[in-house]
Amino acid sequence: MPGISHRQDEEEFRGATGSLFRIALSPTIWAFHFLFCYAGAAVWCAKVGTEEGITFLRLSILGLTLLALLVIGWQGWHSYRQWAPHDNDDHVEGPHRFLGHAALLLSIISFVGVVYVALPALFIETCL
């Protein structure tokens, strides 16, 4: 019967916080994207936007959005790999695969969320 070694436990602790962090990664990217869009627009419109227009702001949001989508896409792909069954896999879903599936679904919803939040910058052309 295998006992539990202390080392194993510490490793699991590290892996545990790692996996839990990973399922929250995509929504966190969404949150930061949202925050930067909002704060960027607020500061830009308060300080310079009324005179200089918001073209620079809109381009920045576009860049930020592409960056966020790239990271979320990368994370989604990784989670998919973690979730998708492998040939040598037993069919019981373990925590590892489950966390992969949850992270994949959260990446999809975060992707949609980022696109939603970026849409206003596509259509709105002034601060007012």
């Binding site: 202390h6 699991e12 839990l20 936007g49 489950f98 969320g113 601060c127 007012l128």
Partner: protein, 848 residues
Amino acid sequence: MIDRAPQGPYPPTEAMLAEPVPQDLRDAQEDRLRKVWKTKTGIRYLMSVNNSEVGKWYSLTCFAFMLAAGVLALLMRVQLAYPGMQFLDADRFNQFFTMHGSAMMFLFAVPLFEAMAILILPAFLGARDMPFPRLSAFGYWSFLIGGVFVLGSVLFDAAPKSGWFMYPPLATMDPGVGSDIWLLGLSFIEIASIAAAVELIVGVLKCRPPGMRINTMPLYAWYVLVVGGMILFAFPPLIAGDLLFELERALDWPFFDPSRGGDPIFWQHLFWIFGHPEVYIVFLPSVAIAAMVVPTMAQRPIVGYSWIVLSAVGTGFLSFGLWVHHMFTTGLPMISLAFFSAASEAVVIPTGIQLFVFLVTLMIGNVQKSLPMLWIAGGLAIFTAGGLTGIMLAIAPFDWQVHDTYFIVAHLHYTLFGGMILPVMAGVYYFFPFFTKRVLSVRLGKWAFWLIFGGFNLTFLPMHLTGLLGMPRRVFTYQPDLGWNTLNLVSSVGAFIIAAGFLVFTYDLLRPGKPRLRERNPWNAGTLEWSDTLSDDAWGVRSIPFITSRYPLWDQPQLVDRMAQGRYYLPDAPEGYRETMVTSVIDARPVQVQRVTGDAWITLLAAVFIGGSFILPTFHHYVAGALSGMVGVGCILYWLWTSTARVPEKDMKDAGLGLSLPTYASGPQSVGWWAMWITMLGDATAFASVVFGFFFYWTADANFPPQGAAHADPWLVGLSALALVVAWALTLGARYLNRTGRTPFARAALIAGPLAALAGGGMLVLSVLHLEPSSHVYPAVVCALVIWTGVHVLVGVLMQLYCLAGTIFGKIDPDHDADLWNVSLYWHFHVLTVLVTATVIGLGPRLL
């Protein structure tokens, strides 16, 4: 160093579990467990800290506050039944609608989540108790004291009257004590809420039974995890806001006064950064109840477990991007409004997914008609209607039309009744046999449902129309020729029908002589809470099971018998301590036997005195308030010293099934460290909100900091940061020195640390003494940052001295250093606070 690795076989084999326990041993074990977990009687019953007692008190108190707030609503509906009524005057009407909203939100909806979670979570997890029972009890007493104080004010004509979101300048300039009662009383309750959130998060992560991996835990636990996390990020901004607001009320620091650089919009931001996530903090735990009830009623596992996790986590995150949709009419830039509009639409996706998951589970399951299912179905219908008006309101131009009208009142009641009240009622009917071992009446339950459901629609459906016809919310009366008369009368009649429904429910809940429960698992449910014995023993579970399935009662047929026979873990309490099991975060492998705190008066005393420090300043008794606070802190120190992280009488103990586990843990292995980490995350959020204020004022006002304004002395600020960094390093050094056995040096570091910290705190205060915070918002926000940091210095010093005493009196030694780990974790966060404060007040004005 003692080796604290678990010893012995894990996981247990079938042969080990099948081995019978001799009858006489079983009886002796049961006697010992019963004695240890015995609930006290008479007046000493109030000392109880066991989750089942505290949970019951908590839930019943919430329910009582809800009924009181409901009575206020009825009185308002009487006043509005006919135009020009003179039943309530305008001032009293203002007090009533303010208290109705405040009480329903702060004294019912959020605390009820905590109450129910404290009551049922340990049972879902097969745990004996929550990891910190005294913290639950402290939270409850704080809630009771704060709640009675706030709600009681309405009887003395002294209640707050500026609406439940307390907008300045109306609320800041309100002459009575009402606003102070709201700010201080509710801050006190919010702190208790955060305490409960810490407890619940640690409970879910660390107190699951062996084998209940993160992908097999009940969905309720996922929701608790998400909602606990949301509380940590949502409540602190409001607490920070309350602090600034009270500084304006008491000391005239102009945070929200535009004539001196302040901005009332800043309060709206802080309030709604709390307020919108709060809606989901209320909604998600109720959906969580549905997620437990639906599989039972469909008699099959939930379809799409990971989809529910997705929607809970996704909703949790997205709900933080919605707050400005409460502020669409404040004149923010159009593009900012559009971001929030988009996010408000996006949140529909995860919210919708969970409803569809329930529907699919019901469709392919074999649904039993039952009372809980009736309430869930009613809830889904009402919530969907509320969600649809939500989508309309998320579109800014529509919101401009109906802002502050009865359309909003209708929308928010549809979401809250459908998303919270009805699912919670389902939960009450579903779990009642588990709490009390008695059964509620089906006939009365149906009456209650149809009265509440029908009355609700009669009251609130017409309000959509009343709102579209232009009736503003919060008016105490109206002219008869506006076309609102019939609609208002219908709403008033409906309100009394709802009340009749609640009356029927309350009668059923409280009437004596309800029939006893005859079987353990009346609904044939699959989750662990229904393994409970019929005799209502206070031990939680007879033995802590080994779990291999999401629905162990369905999939592990011998489980209940084996639990009851004590064949699993911790079947005994030979040392006479209350114990529960701590397991690892993902895989739930056993790592520790946690001795939990027992019944005590000290938690009640701590709540009374800490409560005094919030309540007395309301009436400007500042000295008495400070004294009360000091006594309260003393009570907490006594409680921590006498009952937490004690050096155990033996380092390892037999946990059953041949497994030997440590009885002490420190650092990331211990539940206390996790609690500190989570608490500090909330604390950091509150601090970030004050820092946000600094930059908000900079954005909002071109003249911030004002030309020629006095600044904090940069040299003193720099020196103070240096001294506090030294204090941090000394704390960390003390932990290292203690662990390596150099105790005298560790003590020296713990003497030098507080001195450096006090010097640093002193210099920080000196650096701003020449400022006049009531003259302009710039010095005010600088001083607020200094106050925040200074108070944290004092707490840090107290912690260092606590550890110093620990090393002297044998509570801390090289092998037992949990306190030092927790204190150094506090200092990690604190040193960040110091550096940010120093940068903002020292360098900020020179860079901006």
